[in-house]
Symmetry: D2
């Protein structure tokens, strides 16, 4: 039973149907009928005009979005454990042509205005230091914690005061929104851009760069092509995305993943390093305990010496989650 | 009837089957069972040990391959009308960190040793000029012309003499190989790297970087991640590729496309700007003639004032090709 | 007798005096009293508000200026034989993060509106091609030809119509201005930025980036630091520049160089490939003729098989120039 | 009395003489007689064959040296407070095309093998993380502390074991060597490259990239040109460097600066944050105390709320240093 990650899960049956429906030849790149519907679909979703461009991966989505905010000589404030800092092999340095990530502290990989301000306060040497130009946060965070709308509002206000852009890495934006039970607009807060993840949530492969300033679309479109991310048959990504939006399938999938995570959390008690809000759990386990669980068929990731990461997916069977919960409670 | 390009064609039924078969969750990225078979599959195809890495687009394949050969302060010799020069929005400049494309002449967008030598002869000012480090050619060329094995051998020899890498852009390598009727190894010549295109030949989206020096795989793997091209569910690209290789489906598809192109060529006579070798035709047509063809339902691309480009795909119906041929002959 | 280039000539005595005067410690970087006078000095020179920042080389000046105009995904139109294309080892690709140089034709390495328009007309494939964002021209050109004010006006108008920035490489701007006998403002035309060369005109090493939009100074200041061009003792560059501006020493120096070039030109007649306007001559000479001149002690540069380049400096003795002229006339 | 920094100090009289002697025109760039002597001069200094290339600034020297060791997708381990991390406006990101600085801890801005190892131990996620390729340390450190030869040996051994290059930022290498009283080779340790600073030690402007693997010279030469750091009249930098090396003037200058620093340190007692080894002092002072000193004519830099930085130069008068020492002791 697979709790390693949600990033290799199966494709949702409705997405398969949509992919097959998209097979008939259409215009290449994003000139097909499906891709052309994205702007409207996301404008409806967020209740304000936005531009929406597909890409194949979250790494590309985040980096292309940040390119609208940060100059090569600029800096992006993010958490010390943000995915863009720790897991993308320097992709922001590549896409932003050497711009720096300026690292902030924060519990559970969440930024706070105070911690962001601390980074800003450290920039005192004028031309000799990289200026902050953007903030990037992850909703839900790398430890599965969810920013509340008022937290986003406060960070957004700080961003505005300091002339900084606000990028939201939403690889698990669906899980965060499902947890909050609020509107997508509230869950995104005053973001300038959002990487809307589909790959981990029932898609085959594809994320969406949502630009709340549609005037940035031209820039991102050119950068996407230049980065080799303008797929010839983009209609197949658009098909996935539109299907996930239809009838809020994206939220239904996320709720299923979150529910499975909660089922495990219910029996993990003191072992939990962080409260479980989205679909990730960080569970304190000794080496022997890990072995015991694995011998029963549970797969998960060794985060560090003290804890393991378990992730539930849209297709995680609640049965399996409960079985894992039981197994943990017996340890 | 669609003759605009082969890059938006439908996905081959067998590829669809393979995609569905790959649905079951497996390890992410390229740690799945299918991705792990690529090296072996391509080593068998080319009769020598090579490494094979999937990416989502030909642009990424070409640029990542070139990154094994060219430094940021170096140059890549290519034809003045090479795709990497004219159609990739500066992608090589991005991936190679400002390296220069050094442009060579040549009929039908094909390089010759003499024309490559002319570029080399122009590099006389030492440190003040960008040094050539690689040659990039397209098999088949941007005008659908195919390099013969002995032409590749001659270019390869020049490359070796001058310490240059040799990259082959094989967006339509299948069509070239099918035309030549030789082995894939002969059609690739003494290339150091080959972008093996699948997208235009029955795939959904995916090309393969073939590295004839497997020692380069580590570099390309890191650069691929850094460029946001390490897809989470890479098994879906690997599935496409492996299916196309199975029982030489890739060659069958290419032969079908080439045959459709020949059917049109048979009636286009003097209108052809170049001999038709692969699946592209460049046909001299006046504005009125273009209108006439379009009014009959044929779609194609206005290349310039004098000619149009027509491309046949693996799924072009021979009927439709013959219908277009007829229509041209009546003009 | 040295006619190889003006770029290694001696330093003017008044510049030496100014350097010595600047020895007393002052604030580092460009916070010293001399550097702070540059904006005002150049605003006075050009009769409009501008920002002026020193750098150590013309390469850096050109590239930092272009960085105000061209995005990494953009293009800069320049002549096929522009210094930035042929002699800077790819520096624009480095400073502009992979932006492309879009090459225009033109006699004597001079751009014309028609030739610039031809480049623009070739940009037809939208997102797939690099968009032009700037024009860079050299005053005087690489062949020593000088743009007339009305030529600059016409190019500027075309730039404005197309939303392009206009950069002037003024490595020999002094020689051009001296030749024209007009104001510096007229010789610069409607440029957005000018690289004002001092190194070749009596300086020890130092050029000035003149920004006719002072709002760009912040960007260039940061990029200059980031490129390692913010010298600690910048006062020594500022001292050179201010001295050259004082009492129009820069023009006096240029006039001396131009006069020496004219003295040679007067006897070179039909051998001249281009009319001599600034301080460079391109003289048709056979191999034997070159040997003959060199055996008499004249040093110059073999441009190609048909001609040699001779350059007069501010400190070229008119005697020596006349001696060379004689020697040529005797060939 | 100036204790702000050594980077704006006057030029040594012997350097002035050498500059004047270099005035006569010679070949441009580094083809002049003086520049050609650098390799030999530094090979003699370090007792082994090396290549030595001048540049205008320490920032450029460090970055060009690192370019011999780190790929764009790689990382450089340096101290959290290293100059390249905190004070160069992202220059390493620019020169290394987005490579990352991997930050290590350490007292007094000095690296230790254990702290370097801690960074290496954190690199566990394969392709998803940036691989370390080099170590950069500063001799003397940003807090004026000097690495002992055995410390360098230990770091060098760790570098070799892990296949990492070792770069030494020697902006104040002279002060470190003078303090150690050892050979320059011992003070550089098993470095692969050394930025040999002249600007802060009696020069006008110019540092030297010392390459202990001369085979790297070609790469650095091209990168230097590409970065706009190949000055036309390079002979004026070479002249400074050669003069400083002659009769060990560089060490005499450094000893003078160090002695002035010691004179202050002698009376600063408990106020010193770090032991004074080179020419920098970090002195605990309250706001009132700073005011008091400044009212007496002493200029220095507010490092942070608790301490100030004072720097002695080669030309600091011992009198002035003693006067400052007295003034501190009276506080």
């Amino acid at each position: 039973m697979q709790f390693l990650s949600d990033n290799a899960a199966a494709v949702h049956p409705k997405v398969w149907d949509a992919l097959r429906d998209a097979d008939a030849a259409d215009s290449p790149y994003d000139n097909d009928a499906l891709s052309k519907r994205l702007d409207e679909a996301f404008s409806a979703l967020f209740g304000r005009e936005c531009a929406a461009l597909w890409v194949g991966t979250g790494t590309a989505a985040n980096c292309l979005a940040l390119a609208t905010m940060a100059d090569p000589h600029g800096g992006v404030i993010c958490h010390r454990e943000a995915h863009i800092e720790t897991d993308e092999c320097g992709a922001p340095g590549f896409y932003l042509h050497g711009a720096k990530l300026l690292l902030a502290e924060g519990d559970g990989a969440k930024l706070t205005p105070a911690n962001i301000q601390a980074v800003l306060d450290g920039i005192t040497r004028g031309i000799h230091q990289v200026p902050a130009q953007a903030i990037s946060l992850t909703q839900a965070s790398e430890y599965g914690l969810v920013y509340r709308p008022e937290e986003l509002t406060a960070i957004g206000a700080l961003a505005r005061q300091n002339g900084l852009g606000l990028q939201v890495d939403g690889a698990r934006f669906a899980n965060a929104t499902a947890f909050l039970g609020c509107t997508p607009a509230e869950a995104a807060g005053p973001a300038d851009t959002l990487s809307f993840g589909c790959t981990k949530n029932g898609g085959m492969g594809g994320d969406v760069i949502v630009l709340f300033d549609p005037g940035q679309a031209e820039l991102v479109r050119r950068r996407r092509k230049r980065a080799g991310h303008l797929q010839s048959k983009g209609r197949f990504i658009a098909a996935q995305v539109l299907t996930l939006l239809e009838d809020d399938l994206w939220l239904a999938n996320a709720r299923a993943a979150n529910a499975a995570a909660q089922a495990i959390a219910a029996k993990a008690g003191e072992r939990l390093v962080y409260p479980v809000e989205a679909n990730e759990l960080f569970v304190r386990l000794t080496g022997d305990e890990r072995d015991a669980l694995r011998s029963r068929g549970f797969a998960f990731y060794d985060w560090d010496d003290t804890c393991c990461r378990m992730v539930a997916s849209w297709d995680t069977r609640l049965d399996d989650a409960e079985r894992l919960a039981e197994a943990i409670s017996w340890l």
